[in-house]
């Protein structure tokens, strides 16, 4: 780990001010940041420890739905009775990721900001435009079994590793950003940027801005959800493919559907074209199959990750079938 200045701050203004400094990073749970600093992939000049800020509440919003403070620990969020009851897909997603010890440390804001597990990015040596802008992408002609097939560019096909964020994308979560003059909220799908030819720019977060909360819109009565994750071993592993499905039901008809995919895209990936097929429809295997095909239409697999396309279709089909049979408690 390279030396850095350590600031433990008490107010948002202080944090916002200090993070404007070039090379400053925010420390919350640290499970990803300290890891990156140990690998010397991230070498911040200053570490701004925001753990003393009062951002660890889960509250109901006046408009319905919930506001989750960005310092709420992943375990606390997953086991929160209201979250388990109202947004089971979010609890399932969080509990399918990492280990209990890491979930005890990791925060909501940190989970949103976690970096990719691409081995070329993490090895610190290979050419990687995300780590060292302009050096190219080693995965392009290297081994890319774990890499993305959706949203990729020539300069990067690294996947976003989070499970939680896939569920948040399917829930239409809003990210609350503070620190600049105007407090603003950004839909999670717009919070993440496509790599294009600037893969080092990952989020819409601007200097001096800090994630202070995540807002979850209220789900109508009768909504059915499911998080399904497929991985190489049954625990403590990142997704090969995952799907978060949120189906708003009226009697036996799907009114609205939201599907988000993980493990196969450069960011938590929504599939609006596929979702549209399910609006005002009667669930059936055939419809779900068409929906899965549509969701993967834009996929650009390479030799080692071709299997992910078929796997993703089956995961979507299965997740839709499971969700449509699961009544919201």
């Amino acid at each position: 780990m390279k030396p850095f200045r350590y600031h433990r701050i008490k107010t948002l203004q202080e944090a916002s001010h200090l993070t404007q400094e070039p090379g400053a990073v925010i420390l919350a749970g640290g499970t990803n940041l300290i890891d990156m600093m140990r690998l010397e992939i991230m070498n911040p000049a200053a570490v701004v420890d925001i753990q003393s800020l009062p951002l660890n509440q889960i509250e109901t919003l006046p408009s319905g739905g919930f506001r989750i403070g960005s310092l709420v620990r992943n375990s606390d969020l997953a086991f929160h009775p209201s979250i388990q009851k109202e947004y089971p897909v979010l609890s399932q997603a969080i509990l399918s990721g990492a280990s209990p010890q890491i979930r005890n440390q990791a925060t909501v804001g940190g989970n949103l900001m976690q970096r990719t597990r691409c081995t070329y990015f993490r090895d610190g040596i290979s050419p990687c435009s995300k780590r060292n802008p302009g050096t190219g992408c080693s995965a392009e002609h290297g081994y890319h079994r774990s890499h993305a097939v959706l949203g990729i560019s020539d300069s990067c096909s690294a996947t976003h590793p989070s499970d939680m964020c896939v569920a948040l994308a399917a829930l239409d979560a809003q990210i609350v950003l503070e620190g600049k003059k105007e407090k603003r909220t950004v839909p999670i799908t717009e919070f993440y940027l496509l790599p294009q030819n600037t893969p080092w720019k990952e989020t819409a977060l601007e200097p001096a801005e800090i994630i202070t909360a995540v807002d979850l819109p209220e789900l109508p009565e009768g909504t059915r959800t499911c998080y399904l994750k497929v991985r190489d071993r049954s625990s403590y592993e990142f997704a090969l493919v995952s799907a978060a499905v949120v189906l708003e039901f009226n009697q036996n008809q799907i009114q609205k559907a939201r599907i988000a995919l993980g493990g196969i895209a450069v960011k938590p990936w929504r599939v609006p074209e596929a979702e549209k097929l399910l609006h005002h429809s009667t669930p059936s295997k055939k419809l779900f199959q068409t929906c899965a095909e549509t969701a993967l239409k834009g996929a650009k697999p390479k030799k080692d990750n071709e299997f992910k396309v078929e796997l993703a279709k089956r995961v979507i089909l299965h997740a839709l079938s499971l969700a449509s049979k699961t009544k919201k408690e």
Binding site: M1, K2, P3, F4, R5, Y6, R8, L27, G30, T31, I34, D35, R38, L39, A45, V47, D49, Q51, S75, A98, S99, P100, Q101, I102, N104, Q105, S235, Y236
Partner: protein, 184 residues
């Protein structure tokens, strides 16, 4: 002041480990794991992957299991840290340590201290929950999930799980369907 000297400036920090307070000048770049082992001489907590992948360095922070390799020591001011050295009460072993010894639930032993800390937290939490829910019992699935971040490279998981079950049984937190085989 040269940039690295300025950044490495030590910070006087008070750490409470196993009930004892230590005043230490800590460099911000030191992880809790490094300080425990190298400055406080508490070498029971083990260095494993140092990247949060193996669980060998698990300790309790305010009774919650965390990875000391991913925690800066300066972050821990004002928190209660419990390491493997804090489990026994003087010469009296913690019930988990007794059960691990009885069943031989350690092979090379490198993962054991992390696992014991995680298991202690699991049992303490279940005992707490039992107060409001008398039917509360642990299941093998719950034990396995709690240990999912602790890698045993000797692959001796079965005995580890059985030793935790035996402890839980003795604390009235686990109901066994079959008796433990004597030859295990």
């Amino acid at each position: 002041m040269p940039i690295n000297a300025e950044r490495s400036r030590k910070k006087l920090t008070s750490l409470k480990v196993n009930g004892r307070v230590y005043e230490k000048a800590l460099s911000p770049i030191s992880t809790l794991l490094e300080i425990l082992r190298e400055d406080l001489g508490l070498t029971g907590t083990k260095h494993g992957c140092e990247l949060g992948e193996c669980g060998a360095c698990a300790v309790l922070l305010n009774d919650v299991p965390v990875l000391s390799c991913l925690t800066l020591a300066v972050e821990c001011e004002g928190k209660e840290i419990t390491t493997i050295e804090g489990l026994a009460d003087g010469n009296r072993l913690h019930p988990l340590q007794t059960a691990f010894a009885e069943l031989g639930a350690a092979q090379c032993g490198y993962c054991t201290s992390g696992i014991l800390c995680v298991a202690k937290s699991l049992l303490d939490k279940a005992a707490q929950e039992k107060k409001s829910n008398p039917g509360r019992e642990l299941s093998r699935a719950e034990i396995k999930e709690a240990l999912s971040g602790n890698i045993c490279r000797c692959t001796g998981y079965l005995k580890i799980i059985e030793a935790i079950e035996l402890t839980a049984e003795r604390l009235n937190l686990f109901h066994r369907c079959e008796p433990v085989r004597e030859d295990r």
